[in-house]
Symmetry: C2
Subunit: 223 residues, 2 copies
């Protein structure tokens, strides 16, 4: 049995989504002067590996405070998408065989695009079509996790269609996890947990994302 | 089976250890203007429920980046200390019966002091003696978790003895988790996971702390 860390480390100046607050860590207390080192941390609710709560895009949507841990942990289907290209649209026919007739609440799209994290290429990522997301939703998915910065091609533009997948998933009270690291090393079925920083009332939060391989823990079902 | 959240929510102006950076959350992007809400977060590496890495007090000690998830998850002994008073010293005779001849790597001291979180009384917390910590360490403990701000009476004073427990545990490459919430509701044996924000190279990090009751997950042994 093995635990796999699926989170990007958070460090000063790391890549964030364009327009988001930057990440900055600085030592503000020191062992010599104060008896202990303490770090001041600045980051955004969507820095690094993180969960989007519905309130990210939906007025009145649930915040991070209202997400149950049982929604964020459990058995996951990992859909491998090896060889996917920059900007490529992943549509339903591309993944329907791997999805089958039913999928668990947690679905991971493993594109391997995290190998570009920290470069401009990372932002020219593959995207998932609304029909593919609808297909997964109809088969039971409630949380979509990806190793890209977004399931949509463009966020925060004037075109509503530009973030159709966000609108669909968060609009249906589903969840999105972005910026996974190392997801393409996972088997098709494994147990995963996303453990968010408990940011009160926030639209999202960095998570520690973990996979268990081998004989995985059995988590309680979501209510 | 049940998952219990043992973390304090992080919100603006919440109580932090005296001298530590404050917690501040502010909405910096909005659905109306930007298409999505995004929150800027300021906090300290020891805000809320958090882990102390050895480098908190030990020159050259391990940082959060060097902690394995397997050190932070597993079966825990929860030592109940009902009725403990402000400033009371918890010594070895007080807990040796509950500790027995061997303890797991993870030990939780559940004093119930978290009911005072956010008040001045919280800082006048019970403390644990060095002989009690040494007794637990010699029986196998490698991580001590508490529902108080510190195992020691005073941090960051000119007297080295004032943080003797920190020096002992972190000096032996052990770990400390502080500011647990709700630990006094736990049974004597349960499975616990502490999932830190992956702050690169930092002296500590806020954690999402979770307990599993009932048929708990079985985590891999630490290396």
């Amino acid at each position: 049995m093995q635990m796999i860390d699926l989170s990007h480390p958070l460090h000063s100046g790391m890549q964030v989504y364009p327009g988001d607050p930057g990440v900055h860590l600085s030592t503000v207390l020191s062992r010599d002067a104060d008896g202990a080192d303490v770090t001041a941390v600045e980051l955004g609710s969507h820095s690094g590996t993180h969960v989007d709560a519905p309130s990210h895009t939906v007025p009145g949507g649930r915040t991070v405070s209202q997400l149950a841990l049982s929604e964020l942990t459990g058995q996951a289907l990992v859909i491998g998408l090896h060889g996917v290209r920059a900007g490529e649209l992943i549509d339903w026919p591309r993944i329907s065989d791997q999805a089958g007739h039913a999928v668990p609440r947690l679905v991971v799209l493993a594109t391997g695009w995290d190998r570009h994290f920290g470069t401009q290429t990372y932002l020219d990522h593959p995207v998932i079509s609304l029909d593919a997301v609808t297909g997964l939703w109809n088969r039971g998915m409630r949380l979509l996790a990806l190793d890209t910065p977004s399931p949509d091609a463009t966020m925060r533009t004037d075109s509503p269609a530009a973030f159709a997948v966000h609108e669909f998933l968060l609009g249906h009270d589903g969840l999105i996890v972005e910026n996974l690291r190392g997801a393409s090393t996972l088997p098709a079925s494994c147990t995963i947990g996303f453990f968010p920083l408990p940011l009160a009332g926030a639209d999202g939060a960095p998570v520690r994302a973990v996979a268990w391989l081998g004989q995985p823990p059995v988590f309680p079902p979501a209510q």
